[in-house]
Symmetry: D2
Subunit: 468 residues, 4 copies
């Protein structure tokens, strides 16, 4: 799927640190490991115990922090950071997180991964009371709810506010006194806490970011938890008792980095098992197994191992391909696409290729990749997708909220096979996926959000209920 | 080897086109496919039949051509382009190619991949005659030799000049009338010619660039050839009869893109055979085979296939790592390195890892990678290098001209094994390498320049003779 | 005064247009004429009848709109714009105006020139009700007050809100239906309305911006007016009846562009009369009259005309001096200052110079200019200031709110004369200033805010009352 | 003339320093004072006694040296610098000076103000000998001539080379051992030498640059001089005895900064005398005298003083006008021009204006300025030009080499008056100009190059002889 034009986009990665020198640099390193979760904007807020300072902008992390002074200015021993994906047209700096709120007597910074399902309703209610929002993101609602709470402590205000919102969220809140961490009641998004050698705490969307700063995993945040980290240590509270794990299955299939562990399960290994299950489910005669780089390589190697066929590097990705690539004239558009992926003729020529892709969302580049292999001499191309048919939008933090965009929602497998020009096309079954991930959850409930594939949303959808 | 700090650097990629609309865009696309051959500077000269125009600058191709107008200004149906690596401190724009020479009555543009071994001597002689050089690169010498020739036609002048220079070179020369292509008498550097569907000609350092613009390979340029492409077609001359193929073995081992074919041999496949031969040469008990991404993945998969062990993605590379990454404080330096490569714990934990790298030059990052695997739980790390010990500098176009920089020139295998912290260390034999590449050259002579490994330089070294 | 390091800074210029094609370009041109009123940030909001769009950033107007697409994206027939001065350390993009507020069902944009005196109190009250502010500027308060109003129409809400705020303000509000213009009850800031040939309306802080877009002045906005411009034309309301003109005298003395007319009085001509009155008030024997470029040239020529002495170009300003000028080492600091102003030796050598400056605020560069003239050979330097002693801070829109910064508040004329190294020093009297400006207001009240000189603030100061 | 679109452009300013710490910064400061002599490119070469280092680029000085490291990298106690004007289309970095030539055993840097009249011929001859030029500027010829000289010392080579070239030149040459300064045999361009307090030497195109670094004038370089500055002090030689002063009259009229002294004559004062003589030559009834800012203000004040009419600021220039100003649509083009200059209505309304401009070259903006004044209410506009009719191109260093561009070469005064829409038009006489400048040269020969006005070129024109 990694080659689709505007493919599926995660809406964020968050990272936080408390109690460490160079909190700014640690956050920079952590966010760099989470860059795959959002490339449209990045920001950091640091806290020196007196004042919170921020720097954020549109672009990749390294583009945002293009000058050392931007990072150096963020002094203090704690910080939170965010990398963001924003839908086209709304890539305005106001929406880049962390959001920093300056009140006359205090400051709060907020970083959010996920999507609220009742934000529109809440926002309307707050506006009717005279509230003004500074961003068009749903993330800001939480702060307004905290602000109007009559409770006494920030933790109490926070619990009251969390009980008013619905949907998917992993929140980091930073004040001069503490770093607060909250996860929604279904645990839609992964979130882990680690410790540094010096004793400081680190929170991150994925464990690869803990590794990046040399932190050791101490806790995977559980649904409904509210964790407060301060100079007194870490306190775990439960903001709600009504919890039920439903972690996003696409994190395992596509989003997360292969070296991350989600709830103790290594992502690369889970993907290998998806590929292996795919090989078991459908028999086909081929000569080599080729994965679409880079996201499908794990699944492809699992497929190859299970099928006994050689795993080959039949496609390679141009590592210098960037957004700044100049789009030539229309006539040269096709050649331009060839810049991104190239087929290795010496590998695929004369071969029956089993092409493994992790998932199909819009399906816009499948036909191109199949043709690329045929041009390089492949005599057959059998397309195998290491996840079930993606037919339903997501409302918990992924930017597909329209069924129209999903090819599998409108076309049969046979139709898609014809559109892509492949010799055959098959998808992994839901059971095969659940088995591959292997969460230890009570049967028959898997602990996974599988709504992409079966439309079975774990929650009522509020503002989006009509879009189901 | 791809993770060494300042690893081995190719000194260029060249691309040319004659007789095609959008010659500027085709050259841009072609150079983009050759970006791995040089990341320090890029430029294009285009010819509209009346005038040659140039744009060039320091940086990656997409950075150089950051605005469409830079590329659009280069009008005409023919063009040459260049991507360049330049040694630190000499990254000045004067040395970025193609060099464009404006004479009162004519213009010549020049792009050069390679290194001359008698340029210093020739330059001194020319300066004594009053000549002034505009760049500090050796490439410019050729134009001066052409300029002082008393011959009548440009081709005759060119032949006279080529016979005065020694070393490695693949030259492209563009005038308003023709595109001239010349290869040194040993064919140190690869160079291929293709044709576009409309009949236009394309020349490129690697065949992956022909693929990128949709051209079909029609000829691999042979040692000693001088080829003239004009509106009359392509004429092949021989500027010298004294030729003997000695193509750079490092092109197969490390430099070239896996989807390129060099003299008809697919690079990825050759690397797989190197890995396979490595597995045959040394027996070792392991659980999984892991390659250093990205350059060693082909060799690792060949090793795995031959050994029957699983090929695993035990290391992953951060695709967002760029030069602009801010270097944190010294204490955080180690964590910064972790940004580039990460070990996949779920894969390597508890395993005996056979780690395959394509080559060792300076050896600066081997110890780091071994440690990375151990930190992730590997119980043994056996390092296998898919090429012989790199002990001698190169004078034909690679930027290692000092023996001091080469760890294998000074340390025994046992010493290196200790330095790297690996459980064992072995290198592919010279015979294994020659067999893996499989050039059809007369035995015992392989057709390869193997001087990196045995110090047996195919030519007298002139200015560098004392450095041997 | 123009050469003082961090001299007096106006806090804004505003410009608006309704009912004209290319509203974005007209606003750009208008703001360019108002650039002298604020150089730290600039922005434009345009309205196409459906949606308001904004682009704003830190820097000069031409730096902000560095690419044509930024301006082109702002489509529609109406627009407002703003140029801003922001105090050091608070130059964050959040504070750059116009501020654009996106409500669920509507949008409002706001541009403000001035300073509210009870904003801190109001902000605290609103925060206590749960409101969150997105900027740290006082300008935002108005929108919150509008939002909480129970009135029905925007105009009624606006009138209610305006009656709650105090201080100096010239507001432009843009919605998709109208452009609203409001001036405080004392008219502290100038604001004028003009019409384009096509019938469209233009509003600007100074008339020079009307000239810049080819508009004809139709009305100087009066204290307490609320003007609504829509497709139905212009409607003038009075949001309060309690009005009393007290326009800022420093607009005449220093801020406004010489080609602007304020309340019908040409600024250049008023300055000439200030210089003439200064010549009448103090007799001194000199050879030539020299003004500090550029702000004091009008006053100097008036002085010369009245005194009968020649007006000479004894000082010139480097037109290429910009912020990006690199500050050399400490030893070279003095030479660096010489880059800004230079004395014309051929003019001042051997002369008794009467040096006219428009005002003295911090007094930081007076000594330097006197020395510059002496180094160039002046035998006497008599410093004459074309305004009274500046001894009291401003709370209505100028960035001096601390008495400590004002040299005249702490030093006698004799002391200042010694500090500056001048042969004599005199200031224009208050009467001389009032006479020079010549507003037709009832005697003895002048219609001018003269509080800078006499501490007689026209209003209660609320949040700042203690700072008097 | 300062408002003409692409008006007259000086082709350079040069600055050099020997024997001073911070030579790089002093050169930066000096060039900043000479920025008016060239805004297209800037560069500095510094010498630390071992190595010459350079940094140069297109743009204003502050744009070129946009980061402190660019300037800091230029270490050493001597340096030369250059600001350049380049004709449109040829603004390539190769032509930005100083040019630095790296020979195998030595380095020479060159900065040149002026234009050679036999460069094309010499370049052709050198190319026939096989020489290759790196720039398309004529400046490079000198180095080639030095390089082919058989003389022994650099000074002897230099003298031989200087005797082969013709035209206008002020050369600075820097080697690790000395700074050489040469002026052509007519002294077309101004060039002065000063000393710093610490004893170091400074050379500059204008004395304002000496003032800027705190240096004292010690010598105006004379025609035919070759001056060598080294650690041994300053040695003055004569490279030719055939000299005859013919300094460019346009330096006095337009190019030089008013605070500079040329050959002991203050430029501002000379311009005042031009204005005064203009008033004497033609009688006209008017109310006020207005100069076109900034270049014509001196002449206007001289005119006013002589005529007894008030000198008024009837036009003001927008100090924020830069190249980066976005050009709106065609319909708004006129309004865009209004951004550059504005008429002060309060001054000119109802007045008979005598408008003084320093010169008319292409005449492209005169009509616009006259209309501007009429729109502001002027009842008569009498245009007075403080120099004679500019009818002949320049070949000694100004970028007008085509008679076609000069309006006075093709139109009578009556025709121009009609084109400009002025009520009357008059030009200063040649005698009036010579008298105003007042060089102490033998009558009837004035010591000035007056060829712009009378076509009487002081030298044979070689390559340009046919263009006369």
């Amino acid at each position: 799927m990694s080659n689709e034009v505007r493919s599926l986009n995660e809406e964020c990665g968050v990272f936080g640190v408390w109690g460490a020198e160079n909190a700014n640099y640690l956050t920079y390193l952590g966010l760099h490991s989470l860059q795959h979760r959002g490339q449209e904007g990045a920001g950091i807020v640091a806290n020196d115990g007196q004042k919170l300072r921020t720097y954020r902008n549109l672009g990749l992390l390294t583009q945002v922090f293009s000058k050392p002074e931007y990072l150096n200015s963020l002094t203090g021993n704690s910080a939170i950071g965010h990398v963001r994906y924003s839908t086209a047209g709304e890539n305005k700096i106001e929406n880049v997180q962390p959001l920093l709120f300056d009140f006359t007597d205090s400051q709060i910074a907020l970083a959010h991964n996920g999507n609220l399902t009742n934000a529109i309703t809440l926002k309307r209610e707050l506006e009717d009371k005279g509230h003004i929002f500074k961003s068009s993101s749903d993330s800001e609602v939480l702060i307004h709810l905290i602000k109007i709470s009559n409770k006494k402590t920030l933790k109490e205000k926070m619990i009251e506010a969390l009980n008013k919102i619905h949907g998917g969220f992993a929140y980091l809140l930073l004040t001069k006194d503490s770093l607060m961490v909250a996860l929604d009641s279904h645990g839609f998004r992964p979130l882990s806490i680690g410790r540094l050698k010096n004793g400081g705490y680190v929170v991150a969307s994925e464990t690869c970011a803990l590794d990046a700063v040399g932190a050791i995993l101490v806790k995977n945040v559980q649904p409904g938890e509210l964790i407060t980290i301060s100079d007194l240590g870490m306190v775990v509270d439960q903001w709600t008792k009504k919890t039920k794990l439903a972690i996003c299955s696409m994190e395992f299939i596509y989003f997360a980095r292969p070296d991350s562990d989600i709830l103790g399960i290594n992502v690369h290994s889970a993907r290998k098992r998806m590929g292996a299950n795919l090989a078991k489910e459908y028999e086909v005669t081929g000569d080599i197994v080729v994965g679409v780089p880079n996201s499908s390589l794990s699944a492809a190697s699992g497929y190859a191992e299970e099928s006994g066929l050689p795993y080959e590097m039949g496609l390679i990705k141009n590592q210098y391909m960037g957004r700044e690539f100049i789009q030539p004239t229309k006539e040269l558009r096709e050649k331009s696409v060839r810049q991104k992926l190239a087929a290795v003729k010496g590998v695929v020529c004369g071969k029956r290729v089993i092409l493994v892709d992790d998932s199909i969302v819009r399906g816009t580049t499948c036909a191109y990749i199949v043709q690329l292999l045929r041009d390089a001499g492949a005599i057959e191309v059998h397309l195998r997708i290491a996840s079930p048919r993606f037919m339903h939008p997501c409302f918990y933090g992924i930017d597909i909220q329209e069924k129209d965009e999903l090819i599998a929602a409108h076309k049969s497998i046979a139709e898609m096979n014809q559109i892509f020009g492949s010799d055959s096309l098959e998808f992994l079954s839901e059971e095969g996926l659940i088995d591959a991930i292997g969460l230890e959850a009570d049967a028959p409930y898997s602990g996974l959000d599988m709504s992409y594939f079966n439309g079975d949303y774990p929650t009522y959808l509020y503002d989006y209920e009509s879009k189901k």
